[in-house]
Symmetry: D3
Subunit: 208 residues, 6 copies
């Protein structure tokens, strides 16, 4: 008994990095592969569990919807493991506006309700739209514009997963109208009318 | 109008491969990156939607549980996109036995019910077990032994996602007792007793 | 002399795949890693050279600009090598409209003229804009919205490279207004006014 | 002479990271890509050489075998280079028990003796077993259960390599019986009898 | 307006790592994935712009040529983004000697002049040489020996890109003759004559 | 018993691609990820075993050495698994000349004899040389020039592994002198004397 344990001790010696996982130390500087690993000696099962998706997001906003992310910043256990997840809540009439995830594909599972979802391909500019029911799954290829809309009269919930701990989220409207990008540049690069740009900048808090 | 379309035509010309996605032609031979792409001209939104997870799996079996996969073989749209998913149904008393996914990490979301889940690390042989409630999420690092058990008195459902279209699934019991691996080799490599091995080979249809 | 050649013959025997490169057979079905390799015996240096970027693109269009791609579909020699390139021509007043490359980062080198370029981050919705002169280089991180505008009174030329043979190109305006995505869905997911959407659908040939 | 050296000095300037290698600083926190790089100025050839595999492992234990790893924790020079290695010593009757490497494939070369090795596929639950002689090579795909047994009357030695500096090693028996995983959970998830589980927990030092 | 901003605040909270980019802190220790990220709060557009390629390199040296790199050490904005670039200046008669990039493929665009470029395959030891004119593009597969020569009577300039922020550069002559590798070892491993080796060691500052 | 098998049948159904492995069909065209998969139904354990390294290579040649590869072309079982191996035989005085592997790092284990091995870094042009004894291991980073020399009076054998099924092998002398690369180009790009180039072209069968 002792000999076999001794043998294994060669492999199972204390280390600052566990080969199996790398729970993120979010305070330190990240690097291109993610965050530094928390000392495995102080890691517990709670680092691999995220409880924040059990509660509905607050949908009393202009999109009547909420995204509750469990990305590495919220869920440090996914660091380095190539996965993250999020919950979508869509009140009746709710919409997750046109957006992309720059660093991941997305797979969506409808938990409750009815959702119309779609994406637009880049290679052929094709539109792929479908109304999904409870239990249906849809895949959104990496980096493409896509959206989700409540297609029923009751609240809809979906759980989405990404093949990256940091998929990113770029909502087109926020990118164009919710920051300091000058209206003139928005108009020049999108052909939108000045009045339209200024109206949405007003709604989304953009300047310039 | 025409000139701008002409410009874009340089990029959006017909091709046998769409840069954005690669819906699998399952009939042909695969290769290390997955399957050949179906002609994008005949791809429709239905290739990106999978409806098989809306129905409960049949749990009237000895594990009182069912795994319904949406891997590339069932859901060709995920080919090359680095993601797949599955539905777990656990009747009261149900269990997804100890297993690994050789090619992917897994993230689990509890849709209904209560599930005790756990994994065992390789580096330090530590056990990470937790009872999860509806809406809780747990991450299982790539290649490690893990399991799920219904921890409540009612049916439990979970949706799991993997960062590979072909995560693989190796249930330890099937690998040891459900094939032609000679009992003598099983015993030699696991230290299990002969009677134990033969008993489980009987249950799981193994020979030798 | 013969012996040493004999030794090497073990390694340099005829094969349908060269370890070094894999010039694309564009006619066949692609797969997630790219296209099948042309027989190396018929590959010549011309497969590794692309002459299409020596000529200015036609900028007599509504954007007064042109993108001339040397992606795998135009330049089969880059298949599997993780790189591609393109030429940008911007007449005075020209603009490459807001767009993303779903599968690659981009590095831009100004060959002649003056170009204002910028991108918008997803994590913090920050704007990074700069006017570049001849010889300046700018990097655009993968999947983020970005644009280029002629910032001088004379024609500008840039050469851009991507870390993928198929970076993709999704011009936001084309994705929203240049296809069959119903106006109602565009409006619902972008908060643009109906008149604005219909006006741009008219310009870009969209329907619905 | 000076001019050419001056030119090269642009590239060969002092840096805290060598592009070519990244010898691990094991003391610091790791990250998903491995360990931080030791200052290249103090790296010597001895960082790229490991002498621990020249000595036979101690096989006077219950498995009559020993694994001597040269993973990144023992051999910091492999950090970031995608390879590691180990020596297997199998006394007559010796066995490397059923195990997986969660993060790597393995290639085995028989240095001396005769070894019966095998693995079990996940996709089809097939058994692949072969008795190997001196000089034979066998490949074990990533993450699959496999084992090695001395098949001769004399000591056997093999050298194995992995396509990861941290392949991990999960011996099924240690994972099930050598830690605090409660017997009840082991039985529930493996269908092993209580007596069998308790017997092996006793041998391998497990509790619960 | 406030509600929608509040929703997004969940995603856009302050972090030490931006998902989108990771501008290098060159002073700290690197790791296998690159350098630690500079705090995104202090990153500006100037981190994504490199101005050093607008000036011709000094070609008054024995190769009548200059390489001006914009690798991660010179251009920290490319850290983690999978791309870098460089400028080649070739005076009449100039040559970039036979070399490899251990970690990247290269794509070359001729800005001005005429360049003869070539590479040698490893699998079949084939030679691929071509004289390129202004605007021509050539791809050099990863790790293969290649070279560039001014093929005209006037200065030539090329911009090259690599699919790595740290492609590396190993000039065969420097590697063989520009360091302390003993002449005897050079001769033994290259079959070059002693006089030849000593002559080039003299030119390139080598010892031993 | 039947129910559990039925459950698993969903996952273990016949497929033209096994998720676990992809034994190469060498006759067909390869692609960037390797070769198409042989039908798993006809794969046997012999596809995962290579017997060609048990026999000494023929060292009666001018280098008094032999490389016996077990790359994917010789050993189809490694296709897609990220590993390959080779045997080095060095008679007294034997040398594996200066070379690179464009697509892989290498790890070397000395089986018998004494070997002097070394590599040259690109970033700092440093030389790392060591004489290795039986059982010693050395790592050679990807793409760097390296060599092995018999350092004893008896035959030496080493087994080397690579983290690619197709590491490539570019022997500098063969690349420079063993093909049709014109002497003038060799001289221009290496500064070698004309007589030296022509002498080695003569030995190695080069032309031009």
């Amino acid at each position: 008994m002792l000999p076999i344990l001794f043998l294994v001790a060669l492999l199972f010696f204390p280390s600052s990095q566990a080969a199996d996982f790398c729970v993120a130390k979010l305070k330190g500087a990240g690097n291109p592969s993610g965050y530094a690993c928390r000392n495995p000696a102080i890691v517990t099962v709670d680092d691999f569990v995220f409880k924040g998706l059990g509660v509905a997001g607050n949908t009393t906003n202009i999109i009547s919807a909420a995204v509750t992310p469990a990305f590495v910043q919220q869920f440090p256990g996914v660091n380095g493991l190539g996965l993250s997840t999020a919950r979508l809540d869509l009140a009746p009439g709710g919409v997750i506006p046109m957006h992309t995830h720059p660093a991941a594909s997305e797979i969506l599972f409808v938990v409750t309700g009815k959702i119309t979802a779609g994406f637009i391909s880049s290679s052929a500019n094709m539109v792929y739209v479908k109304t999904l029911n409870k239990g249906d799954v849809m895949i959104f290829p990496q980096g493409l514009l896509h959206f989700q809309i409540n297609a029923g009269g009751t609240a809809a919930v979906a759980v989405v997963s990404f093949n990256s701990p940091e998929p990113g989220l770029q909502i087109t409207d926020f990118a164009l109208f919710g920051n300091s990008l000058p209206s003139k540049l928005v108009e020049k690069t999108t052909f939108l009318d000045d009045a339209q740009v200024k109206k949405l900048k007003g709604v989304l808090g953009g300047t310039g």
